[in-house]
Subunit: 231 residues, 2 copies
DNA sequence: AATTTACGATACGGACCCGTCTCGTATCGG
DNA sequence: CCGATACGAGACGGGTCCGTATCGTAAATT
């Protein structure tokens, strides 16, 4: 059991590399002697992975051999930079989904919520993000390292951001204080995520969607005793 | 391109079988001559697939070879019933997720909504359903037949049920009529699905969760001008 | 009993893959 | 110029898998 992928997992091989990119602090240490690594090759590799993702390849289709071919690169050139397939994908995912966590943006809590929902909507329009999210949910389940990384790098900070905004809303008296913060978060984030992840045919290119969703959640789905306006 | 799985896709081979199960109308046609198919073997195969799913195997780990071994069955016994791996998994999924669409259940619209949300919650507790949902979202993307089947057999009827309930709610004046039916559906279903699919560590064993969620969505996340109760 | 079909096991060819290694060539420092 | 390292291409051994075929055996019909 725990057979997983077939990947060995250990740092064997040469691999004194640091991958050039992910450890920025290594910088000037040793301007090594021979021919330098080709920056172009590295970018071609990463770009090919991203392109293959966009084209809908499953996790299995993302083989080193395919990636190398797509990038016009020898397999050795990949293995010189990453110890194995897992590391490559983890790296690509990390830089793909690295949090540019949208700044709180809104002055109002409502504006912040709208900004957050709209960020999710816009991400849903990007095929790569969709791929990552859906694959992360599915196949990645049997791939602990990648799953943990994804949760740590993408889900958790976003969830934390959401909670902060919502906590602020509760403190300011804009959001109900008789509900769990988690429940409130789910109420706000749930609708757009459903549309993003689950119902692929649902339209996402509606600019005003986020605003309508947030307002609807704030106001409630039920009929209100007397009329109400939100802004 | 469109290489996909490696599966050939065509109905080659013997395959006069009808799989015994999925085409129920074939019944008594020919009480064939030799030794009859072992019902036990068939059940063992299906059970093994389900068990492997529950244990978290990815789509790739669900190989015919593994399934046969897990079921204590020869590969030929599988191929005598299903033409290929795809057909087997489609079949298992179909009978696993076949709609026992929970009857409308509630007299009130609110009760119906709660029943629906609670059904999702309970399904989220079943590992198999979780596997199917998450795998369907992820890896199944590059597997058209299975994806279509899943959408047709699971997602669509549930979505339709939700819309019916919600439409009834709008007609009865319980739900706002100034919102899209789809938006209302997402508001109701989104929160529980988020918790089911996305945040795996979130607890689902709270019996009153569905009720609280529905009420929260009905009442709204925002603070109401005057106090309000729903029931 | 003879025939027919299913059974579990397992061998097979073909395909893909991983990660290493070897080519011949290019590009760097010294 | 020379040693060192990188490059693309691809061979290689070892592995898993698919779907078929072949064992000897078991359970039905005729």
């Amino acid at each position: 059991m725990t057979d997983q992928r077939g990947g060995r997992g250990g740092q064997n091989g040469p691999m004194q590399t640091e991958t050039t990119a992910p450890v920025p602090g290594e910088g000037s240490c040793a301007p090594r002697r021979g021919r330098p690594r080709s920056e172009a090759a590295e970018q071609a590799i990463v770009a090919s992975v991203e392109r293959l993702m966009e084209e809908g390849s499953g996790l299995t289709e993302l083989s080193i051999e395919r990636i190398a071919a797509a990038a016009g690169v020898g397999k050795a050139t990949i293995y010189r930079r990453w110890p194995n397939k897992e590391a490559l994908l983890v790296d690509v995912l990390a830089r793909l989904e690295q949090m540019p966590v949208p700044p709180h943006a809104g002055a109002t809590v409502r504006d912040s919520l709208i900004a957050m929902v709209d960020d999710i909507r816009r991400r849903g329009l990007a095929k790569r993000s969709r791929w990552v999210l859906k694959t992360a949910l599915g196949q990645l389940d049997s791939w602990p390292e990648l799953r943990v990384l994804y949760k740590e790098k993408v889900i958790k900070p976003r969830r934390e951001l959401a909670r902060q905004i919502i906590r602020r809303g509760v403190e300011e008296g804009v959001l109900r204080d008789d509900l769990d913060v988690d429940l409130l978060t789910e109420m706000v984030v749930g609708p757009i995520l459903i549309r993003t992840v689950l119902w692929e045919d649902a339209p996402l290119d509606d600019e005003g969607l986020a605003e309508r969703m947030v307002d609807a959640v704030l106001t409630g789905a039920g009929v209100r005793p007397s009329g109400g306006e939100s802004h």
